[in-house]
């Protein structure tokens, strides 16, 4: 037997990938070669000295929990609570007292308590709003609201970047302010894309109905649009022209249907593929989605070669790191890229 094979067999034996035939072979070697048997025994004994798998103590967990307490408090709705029937009367009574105090509290305190959530490059974040509505922030986005009045007097918030909302149905209207636009909803799911470096603000509706108000300086010049499901409104970012053309034929506002694509057998829209961390492309040129990469990763994409800019792509790419995305794209149609600080330079 040659000794290379012996080592291979040992590796498989100790690290648990040995096959029955190999095991037989190893046993044969050990029983016929006393020196190898000795080596095997010593190694076996040594290999067994593994570190014990200890678990962290409650104190360590408590310290960790306290340190990040704020993060654990915004746990979304699907926490299960079991209430013992016996205590329900007491609970009801206690709830009444709490409610009374609460109502009083709302009446007598109108303190502003601004809450701000934001995301960095390549970060996505789901937050549960006080009314149990859900907001998913795409990279480089933010949501701000007044916790003192939200879900009490109003449901108003401000946003930047791109946010997907799934709003709980309530009597109080849910208002999203983004630049000069207010989106008014009752209970729906919709996506707002308003990255500063884009010409348009896009709102896509998936369920229910929303009303958009484009502020034009005063009530007269305000413009209202009602949006139905699976439609998208793009508003050109230029408040002055909006004010002038409000009421007239307006070419700054486009309504289009959402395109559905399938991903993993499920139909999803290109506008919300980011929720699944996917970049969904359907016959799009590189130049047309380069902006999406900039929004996501915070790096400017400079395509030097016009031929590369005109490359057409279809399919879905997981949005992991920018390098992975670029590698995937360049493996389909070849180009070279160089990342320099905040720029990505693309050449043929």
């Amino acid at each position: 037997m040659n000794s290379l094979l012996f080592e291979e067999l040992l590796a498989r034996q100790f690290f648990g990938t040995i096959t029955p035939e190999e095991k037989e072979q190893l046993e044969f070697i050990i029983t016929t070669d006393p020196q190898k048997q000795y080596q095997y025994r010593v190694l076996e004994e040594w290999m067994q000295k593994k570190q014990g798998a200890d678990t962290a103590t409650d104190e360590l967990w408590q310290a960790h929990y306290q340190k990040h307490k704020a993060l654990f408090d915004d746990v979304p709705q699907n926490r299960r609570t079991i209430i013992n029937i016996k205590y329900i009367k007491w609970l009801a009574a206690a709830a009444c007292v709490v409610l009374m105090i609460g109502v009083g509290w709302v009446y007598f305190t109108t303190k502003k308590e601004m809450v701000f959530y934001s995301t960095a490059n390549n970060e996505q974040r789901t937050i549960c709003l006080p009314d149990n509505s859900m907001a998913v922030l795409n990279a480089n986005s933010s949501v701000t609201y007044d916790a003192g009045s939200f879900n009490k007097a109003n449901r108003t918030l401000q946003m930047t970047g791109e946010v997907y909302f799934d709003v709980q149905k309530k009597k109080v209207p849910f208002l999203v302010n983004v630049e000069n636009i207010t989106i008014r909803v009752l209970g729906t799911a919709f996506n707002v894309k308003a990255y500063k470096n884009q010409k348009e603000i896009e709102t896509s509706l998936y369920r229910g109905k929303i009303e958009m108000v484009l502020k034009g300086g005063n009530q007269k010049t305000d413009k209202k649009i009602t949006l139905l499901p699976n439609k998208k409104v793009s508003v050109l970012r230029n408040s002055e022209t909006l004010a002038e053309t409000a009421g007239q034929k307006n070419t700054d506002i486009k309504v289009s249907s959402l395109t559905q694509d399938s991903y993993n057998g499920k139909a999803i829209s290109r506008d919300t593929a980011w929720l699944q961390r996917q970049l969904l492309l359907n016959n799009q040129s590189f130049a047309s989605f380069a902006q999406d990469l900039t929004n996501r990763y915070g790096k400017k994409i400079i395509i030097k070669d016009p031929e590369v800019a005109a490359y057409i792509y279809s399919g879905s790419i997981p949005m992991v790191s920018i390098e992975k995305v670029l590698n995937a794209l360049s493996s389909i149609q070849s180009f070279h890229y160089k990342i320099e600080n905040n720029d990505v330079i693309i050449n043929k």
């Binding site: 010593v42 360590l60 960790h64």
Partner: protein
């Protein structure tokens, strides 16, 4: 191929954490904090910073829990995150990476272990410490941390075949030590 129990267990845990289940996260923390801390301590040789790195990696799982379905090798992901954090730490301190196994160095020096370990064991440990970095990294993950080839490969960004080859090199060097005994 059937999944082994530990990976399957972490799939359930992953799903629960994805749904914002705090007790599931507590379990994840308790099961993984000590090993991750130990692994970080080996790489950076700074117990305090290692605690922080392990804690930060785990809390980032909670922060990014809605992305968990995208992570296929959960345990490997945790180790890789710790490893990357350690690399950043070392870069900031302008220190080179030493592929761990520093626990063994401590073992070598205490009198009890000197008594417990035979002369041979010491030889083996010295041989392990003298392994080339890549080899040591594989050996540390598979032997010390008890991870699979596939997981070690994921963590180090190499193929499982390379892990296999590196481990065979490691064993060959160790057997060389035994042969001269």
């Amino acid at each position: 191929m059937p999944k082994d129990l530990s990976t399957h267990g972490s799939d359930i845990l992953k799903e629960k954490i994805f749904n914002g289940d705090l007790p599931a996260y507590e379990l994840l923390f308790k099961q993984n904090y000590p090993v991750l801390k130990k692994y970080a301590a080996k790489l950076i040789r700074n117990p305090q910073a290692a605690e922080e790195i392990a804690s930060d990696v785990l809390i980032s799982i909670w922060k990014k829990r809605h992305e968990l379905p995208q992570i296929t090798f959960f345990r490997a992901y945790l180790y890789r995150s710790v490893r990357n954090a350690c690399l950043n730490f070392l870069r900031a301190e302008k220190r080179p990476l030493d592929e761990g196994l520093s626990d063994d160095i401590a073992d070598l020096s205490t009198p009890e272990t000197l008594l417990l370990n035979s002369e041979l064991n010491l030889r083996i440990q010295k041989a392990v410490l003298g392994l080339p970095p890549k080899c040591k990294a594989c050996f540390s993950l598979v032997k010390e941390e008890g991870l699979s080839y596939k997981e070690a490969a994921q963590i180090l960004g190499i193929s499982p075949k390379t892990v296999d080859a590196q481990l065979i090199i490691a064993l060959r060097k160790i057997i060389d030590v035994l042969r001269t005994a």
